[in-house]
């Protein structure tokens, strides 16, 4: 039968546990639909994150960025090889068996 809302992930494993199918003859094993929930918290936003609109419009951003772009190629090539995103981890190492 599947739940009415499909097999969507949910953060709380106890959601949808109260669902009762309309059809009384349904098998009890299918009463509680499978809920998916995250097993790690790596993708949560930082607690003090605030998202707001950039006050400068795009034209002014271009005026500010152009001279900075011109300065950047002056650095030696070896500088660019150090990873800027050190916090990122390889995907394969943490693959979970849960679905």
């Amino acid at each position: 039968m599947g739940s009415l809302l499909g097999d969507w992930p949910s953060y709380n494993p106890h959601n949808f546990s109260q669902l009762r199918p309309a059809d009384p003859s349904a098998q009890p094993s299918k009463l509680t639909p499978v809920t998916y929930h995250p097993t790690h918290s790596r993708t949560l936003p930082p607690p003090n994150q605030v998202i707001s609109t950039e006050t400068r419009n795009i034209l002014l951003r271009q005026f500010y960025q152009k001279p900075e772009e011109k300065l950047r190629p002056k650095r030696a090539a070896s500088d660019n090889l150090t990873p800027a995103h050190g916090s990122k981890q390889l995907r394969g190492a943490f693959a979970d068996g849960s679905n």
């Binding site: 419009n57 795009i58 034209l59 002014l60």
Partner: protein, 509 residues
């Protein structure tokens, strides 16, 4: 996108159609294809005033008396009449349709200029949020003004220029600001830029940018003056060190900022320290005197803190077309008093910003919605096609770039927001009529507005008037067109040398 062209079908579709996000205005504008000002009433008898423009919210028609001393404001209304009988459409319009006051109600007549002053007909800025209008009066221009301290040579002088802030609702003059023995380019409102509640006035003679704020109460308040001094306390600092600066003449604050920016930019261009000095000599010191001799011509706001200033040589100071003279553009941050960017008018980098982000040069604040929908080559593919067409045909890219750069800094409120000028709705001959409010040479042929989405279907025509064919050759005629910002209503004004002005009304019957 409406599926049908029929007006009634579109009204039904609008009830169920959800427009694309952010494009609801573009969709609703398609109704203007159905409601067009196709009926013309020629030569209405109207008072002999020079009509300036409709305000951008469509509430007022601003006009000036012939003697350039009074301001007369009308409220646009609509002709209303009733007819009996079955077939009303075939009836001709009643006699009162030929009268100006069937379409406009006079609100008031206010005298702005006294004896030797005249209202500058070309100058009008509107602050929509409070319905304030800014007008300017000036005395006669004199070219042989005595050189006073701080004034530069080569720029004419006007004894007195006064700006008046008028509440258009009732004609009360709220505040005024006068400039004496100065010169501000009032033609087409070029020397003044209004952004939200901030005004910047370019005083050419004293090379100062005056920043004023229009308060809610209607007062004009000085915020800062940029020119000799950049920060508010610069003057105090210089005066308290007068013993040091006595005898030497310092360059003005803005010039110092500009020169130091150019120096640092040239310094950073050359990575090798041994070649740096040579590079500086070639690029900076060789042109040093030319940079020092630059003067500010025109200024606009890019946002509340940034100004775009055009610099050039004294010779081209007052003229509008500057093809031969080199010109420069600088972006200046008023808060940090730093120059952010500096380009020559042949710069392809600046041109690419102009091509992509032209709407941001127009600095429309978030308050005025309709102004964001004026067609430009940055928001309309047809306009962009036209621009690329010209660009591809030209042999000399540098000349093309310089020509495009003459439209920077932008002039405030110079284009009509009427949807009939929207290039995605209509195609029209831009040499004969366009969103820019300007006098044009008149043409005998009617100006056609052809639907963009159904090619070759004529939607409506504006015929400036019956021919005035005289036996002594065709008289020279100048037309100007005033379109109401959202109603299917337009005035066309024909001026012929030595003959009375003819005003026609084009509207949807």
């Amino acid at each position: 996108m409406f599926r049908s062209n029929n007006l009634a079908a579109r009204v039904f579709e609008r009830q169920i159609l959800t427009p694309r996000p952010g494009a609801s205005v573009n969709l609703v504008r398609h109704f203007y294809e159905n409601l067009v000002p196709s009926c013309t009433i020629y030569d209405i008898d109207c008072p002999d005033h020079s009509f300036r423009k409709f305000t951008d919210d469509g509430q007022y028609l601003v006009s000036f008396s012939r003697n350039h001393q009074d301001l007369i404001v009308y409220r646009p209304t609509w002709l209303s009449f009733s007819c009996e009988g079955e077939d009303c459409d075939s009836h001709s319009l009643p006699q009162k349709a030929k009268r100006f006051d069937s379409f406009f109600t006079q609100l008031y007549c206010v005298s702005l200029a006294s004896s030797n002053e005249f209202i500058c007909k070309d100058f009008f800025l509107y602050m929509e949020s409070h319905q304030f209008g800014l007008f300017a009066t000036s005395t006669a221009q004199s070219h042989d003004a005595p050189t006073t301290e701080g004034a530069i040579d080569g720029v004419p002088s006007i004894e007195r220029i006064t700006f008046y802030l008028v509440r258009l609702e009732d004609g009360v003059i709220l505040d005024e600001k006068a400039f004496c023995n100065d010169f501000v380019n009032l033609a087409q409102s070029m020397g003044v830029f209004l952004y939200e509640d901030l005004l910047c006035i370019m005083s050419l003679r004293y090379q100062t940018i005056h920043i004023l704020q229009i308060r809610d109460s209607g007062n004009l308040v000085d915020v800062r003056n940029i020119g000799i001094f950049c920060r508010e306390d610069d003057e105090l600092f210089i005066n308290s060190h007068a013993h040091v600066t006595q005898g030497t003449s310092l360059l003005s604050g803005i010039k110092q900022r500009l020169l130091s920016f150019i120096f640092r930019k040239t310094w950073n261009e050359e990575a090798d320290p041994t070649l740096r000095v040579q590079h500086l000599k070639k690029k900076f010191y060789f042109h040093f005197q030319d940079y020092v001799d630059l003067i500010m011509w025109k200024v606009q706001f890019l946002d509340r803190h940034h100004l775009l200033i055009k610099f050039g040589s004294v010779d081209g100071g007052v003229a509008r077309s500057t093809d031969q003279q080199p010109a420069f553009f600088a972006v200046y941050n008023m808060e940090t008093t730093e120059i952010v960017a500096f380009y020559q008018n042949s710069s392809e980098e600046l041109y690419s910003l102009f091509e992509q982000f032209y709407d941001y040069f127009h600095a429309n604040s978030r308050n005025s919605l309709h102004a964001s929908f004026i067609s430009s080559h940055s928001n309309n593919t047809h306009a962009l096609d036209q621009l690329w067409c010209i660009k591809n045909k030209t042999n000399n890219i540098s000349q093309f770039v310089k020509k495009m750069m003459t439209s920077l800094p932008c002039t405030c409120q110079s284009q009509s927001p009427s949807p009939y000028f929207d290039l995605s709705l209509f195609r029209y001959d831009e040499k004969l009529i366009s969103a820019t409010v300007r006098h044009r040479h008149s043409t005998e042929h009617p100006i056609k507005f052809i639907s963009r989405r159904q090619p070759n279907i004529l939607k409506f025509k504006i015929k400036p008037g019956p021919e005035a064919g005289g036996s002594d050759g065709r008289p020279k005629r100048i037309s100007s067109f005033l379109f109401h910002p959202y109603l299917p209503f337009a005035l066309s004004i024909q001026q012929t040398y030595m003959q009375p002005t003819v005003v026609n009304i084009h509207f949807r019957r």
